[in-house]
């Protein structure tokens, strides 16, 4: 094929891919402006009604179909995502710093026992984790939503790689200037890992925002419903589903993580591909 034709073909394929991903989201966006009864009759249209955004203020302020008001669920999701991202980054930096820059008893054991948790995702220890949570009285508490999720082998490994790469000369120079370990952490180690922290933040924010199984297990109190949990609750209603309300909620559930990914795309892509490989 001549070059021009090949380019045309590549454009066609990529455009098809873009549509494949944008269409479902567009459909929900368009549906959120349409009449629920019309949608229930099967008249869902791809053309939004630009004069009708009434579903948004309605779901934001009032609970519908067994779910609390959307503003509250957004707040819970935001709190959970920020605490998980911040918590994971903080404790992983500290533990990686200790393992790389010190020699202390049981250092190897400490490192390996963090590393092995890679093999124990929540999904394989559903029941026993629940009973541990109950022992600590963490069921139906905001703390229970995020604290147990912040231990992180991947983040620790990532920061370990970054810290190992800091040149010895830099450490020597800092020590010569009389900088202690905490000072070095604050002034050198954390600043040099800035790009990694940014990338990790995006990945972990999305991870935290998108949690489903964990909140389903540990929080049955509707005041702790995240937006993802609330949305799934809404589509579980068998009769009288208010479809435009469901769609408006879906739009608001996906906007924040999508915004974070798009705004921080550059760091995110670089960090993802170099960090996890």
């Amino acid at each position: 094929m001549p070059r021009q034709d090949r380019d045309w073909f590549a454009h066609a394929m990529l455009a098809l891919g873009v549509v494949l991903f944008a269409l479902p989201v567009w459909l929900v966006l368009a549906g959120s402006t349409q009449d629920s009864d019309a949608i229930a009759r099967g008249d869902l249209s791809l053309v939004p009604d630009l004069t009708n955004f009434s579903a948004y203020p309605k779901v934001l302020t009032q609970g519908t179909m067994g779910a609390p008001p959307v503003w509250h669920m957004l707040l819970v999701s935001l709190g959970m995502a920020l605490c998980i991202a911040g918590g994971k980054i903080a404790i992983s930096i500290l533990s990686a710093y200790a393992v790389v820059f010190f020699r202390f008893p049981f250092r190897k054991i400490a490192f390996w026992s963090i590393f092995v948790t890679l093999m124990l995702p929540v999904e394989v220890r559903i029941m026993p984790t629940y009973s541990v949570m109950a022992t600590f009285g963490l069921i139906n508490s905001f703390t229970g939503l995020w604290v147990p999720l912040i231990a992180s082998a991947t983040a620790t490994l990532l920061f370990r790689q970054v810290f190992v790469a800091i040149p010895d000369e830099l450490v020597e120079a800092a020590r010569m200037d009389g900088a202690g370990p905490l000072r070095f952490l604050k002034d050198i180690a954390i600043p040099v890992s800035g790009a990694n922290i940014a990338a990790l933040f995006v990945i972990l924010f999305v991870y935290g925002w998108n949690q489903y199984l964990w909140p389903l297990l540990v929080a049955t109190d509707p005041s702790l419903d995240t937006i993802v949990i609330g949305l799934v609750k809404m589509i579980g209603v068998e009769t009288q589903t208010d479809w435009s309300a469901v769609m408006a909620t879906a739009v608001m559930a996906l906007l924040p993580p999508v915004a974070v990914v798009l705004l921080m795309q550059r760091w995110f892509v670089a960090g993802l591909t170099e960090g996890e490989k």
Partner: protein
Amino acid sequence: MERRTVFGGWLLPILLVLPQLTLTAFFFYWPAAQAVWSSMTTQDAFGAGEVFVGLDNFSDLLADPLYIASMVRTVVFCVTVSALAMGLALALAVFADREIRGKGAYRTLLIWPYAIAPALSSVLFLFILDPRVGMLGRPLNRMGFDWDYHLNGNQALLTVVMASAWKQVSYNFIFFLAGLQSIPRAVIEAARMDGAKGWRRFRTITFPLLAPTTFFLLVVNIVYAAFDTFGTINALTHGGPGKDTETLVLKVYRDGFINQDIGSSSAQSVILMLGVIAITAVQFRFMGKKVTE
């Protein structure tokens, strides 16, 4: 690799590593140990307590046709989802790697679905495939084709496979594109000069050079399909109709959390743990040297 220059003292580093270790002990090791213990016990018939039964829960499970069926279903599901999500992503990455106009825009438009929650992708697919309100589902029925994933097991499986694969494409796309970009242009140029054309060049040069990326993604996709799709499946079909979309993780959840059969659910957890350990071991056997050196 080890540092030559380190700081002295041992109290400070232990304090630094303590938060991570404490959380790990309480929320990883304790539950894992408890899973192993519970998997070897059963509830007393009168509800008086636990009775040690050795490996009975395991032999019961492996003799249970429903469990074997769920295992087979999970394997089929994982393979299909991984193949679909990786194939599509690779094709898109190959096109996006070309020097064409607007490639930056294409990349952004293919990367953003990374942010969509697995449970949310099921809601999006509901509006396409639901037999009553779906954009495609309803017309299908109008044309006389019996489409209802709430009633037909194969259609249900197809629906959850599509929703799960759809969500994972952008992740794979990011990695395939990075892999393609790391192939030196000189290698591709040399192949071009030798007269290797499009498909042949891809098959004999590009694809083999992508092998590490492909292998890494295969592991990630299998783990994703096995575990992270819980939300997608639970929201779309609850594992039904019947048990037609019940993967192993859904079964652990249903048997343990809904039916309160702790012994069996824990035994299933232990089997899943062994699965993850096997996958991780294979992964590090082939490409993990970087991490531990």
